[in-house]
């Protein structure tokens, strides 16, 4: 990571947590965990609450759909780290690796329902162009997405557009597939808090 404090500036509590993670998972600690536990009173603890509500709070979108949105938003942000991390979670949640790889390869031909496809189109535009307009919302609604579903998808987009920016800016080191796999198990079991 580009700031040494995010690698080695943690207090005793997080350091003990890192040792436990390494012992149990037999994998290095993911950089996102180092970020979340560095001065958590400033950012990490609150951000985890935001992400947990977006990803695990009540919604008509399934957990798998929301993890797929997270991976897709990460790809739209050119954040390799976040794309791999959330593709792993989405694959596990949906039990459908082909669906996840299909969406990441080509949204238009991916084997998903139209409401989800229309929602992902809108999220991609918001992520890449930093704005969406009334026509974009009409297109999603016309595809059968409800207003509440759009709001819920925008919450996912909020959480992961922040995370991707920080992963890119702080230079998260890519982890091994096994490390992402261990992380995905944890996120599906425990959520983001």
């Amino acid at each position: 990571m580009r700031l040494s404090i995010l690698d080695k500036g943690h207090g005793l509590g997080p350091k003990m947590l890192f040792a436990l993670i390494r012992a149990v998972s037999r994998q290095p600690v993911l950089d996102v965990i180092k970020l979340a536990t560095y001065r958590p009173d400033f950012y990490g603890a609150l951000a985890q609450g935001v992400t947990h509500e977006a990803m695990r709070g009540p919604s008509a979108w399934s957990v798998g759909d929301r993890e797929l949105m997270a991976a897709f938003i990460a790809k739209s942000n050119e954040c390799e780290w976040c794309t791999r991390a959330h593709a792993a979670v989405a694959e596990r949640a949906l039990s459908d690796a082909a669906k996840v790889s299909g969406v990441l390869a080509d949204l238009e031909t991916a084997p998903i329902q139209e409401p989800l496809r229309a929602t992902l189109r809108m999220l991609r535009k918001l992520t890449r162009e930093h704005a969406v307009n009334e026509d974009d919302m009409r297109a999603a609604l016309a595809a059968g997405v409800s207003c509440e579903q759009i709001k819920d998808a925008l919450a996912v987009c909020f959480a992961f557009n922040v995370t991707a920016r920080l992963a890119n800016a702080f230079g998260f080191a890519l982890a091994s597939p096994k490390a992402f796999e261990a992380g995905s198990k944890y996120l599906l079991t425990r959520g983001y808090r």
Partner: protein, 102 residues
Amino acid sequence: MTDFRQARQGLVQRILEGKGTASHAQRRAAFDNAELEEPMHTLIEKVAGHSERVTEEDITAALASGLTEDQIFELVVCAAVGQVTREYETALLALAAVSKKE
């Protein structure tokens, strides 16, 4: 998602108004992506608009300007949350406008 709204507002309030090593004015400027001098202007602009373009050199230049790592950490967080807050609010306004008309 009332809980999400509250959690998001809490995050924004904390990073802008709570205790930090960067001044409140610096954090607000990073959040708004405005009124920053180089080299922070370049770094914050990239975090907000094209974070994939941030380089090691951008961080090194910020450190060389006299900012501490903690200050850079806070300002980058503020820049990310600020940009995404604007995008999120723009999208909600577009949705509300359509909902009102239909």
